[in-house]
Symmetry: C2
Subunit: 156 residues, 2 copies
Amino acid sequence: MVRSIRCPVASTLDLVGDRWTLLVVRDLLRGRSRFSELRDSVEGIPPAILSLRLKLLEENGILRRRQYQTNPPRFAYQLTSKGHALGVVVGALASWGEKFAESDLALVDDECGHGVRVVYHCPTCARRSPGSRVRMVDSPSSPAAPFAALHSPAIH
Amino acid sequence: MVRSIRCPVASTLDLVGDRWTLLVVRDLLRGRSRFSELRDSVEGIPPAILSLRLKLLEENGILRRRQYQTNPPRFAYQLTSKGHALGVVVGALASWGEKFAESDLALVDDECGHGVRVVYHCPTCARRSPGSRVRMVDSPSSPAAPFAALHSPAIH
DNA sequence: GGAGTCAGTTCAATACTTGAACTTATGGTG
DNA sequence: CACCATAAGTTCAAGTATTGAACTGACTCC
């Protein structure tokens, strides 16, 4: 059976690519954990949607739902390491929005206080990889296919 | 008039946060430019949706629609620099999907051939900023508000 | 002159989202 | 004790968006 190539961008968007999910993840990253905290901090989310999204995120291993009190039952939602790894996705959205959309907030390094960017990095060469050099290629297991440039030149 | 604080993540998702838009951007980044190319490469997108998304992206200055032939009229869609800057957002989604979701593709530096990661970088200090140190803070114009951690510890 | 390509549009059926109200269990106040 | 508030959701009707299938023009190629 010839499976079609699965793109990691498409796979990720299947899990978190709707209007609300990444806002929920943003606020979980910021330490919110209870249903009511999320409902109040995710701008205008209807509780039915929040409930649905939390269920899906739990099913996909992005967060864990923990009862922190039995009577009455109360729950805390916390990101797993898989969910926590979405931080840089949220960071990339924040960084773009800071520059190109309406924004009153900035992304900074808490230690030095300077604004930060989101960039590509080659851990093997221990250096930055400019976007112009980054491509999506077939994984080692299926090595026959040609390179597909992720970044081609922009127009201005 | 007291405007509520605009979060750059929310602003960005207002523009590109639906199921299809970032897949369209992905393929524009990979050099696809014509309607039919996009319809064929964005997995299963209905043409009505593609048409709508392209209109919205053009309205928001993320791409430009250029007629490259008059008779019959044919058009090319190309990212502006604003749109091109979404590359790292798509890259972050790809990087996460590569590690945590179904994926047959990997993100590599075309020059060295090694896999790349998406990380925070402080251009002032010229060093990486670990996610644990990155926060969203009020922009200079409204300096009174407290820090809000973007990344708090994950559970495992 | 018939088939094919390109760039979409149209439309009815389906799915998803929304807002408002409601539930259940408990704690605190007077 | 009665009353209000809080937390964590659920329910439901109404509205909005998405989907798939089919269709339209204006060509070009054979």
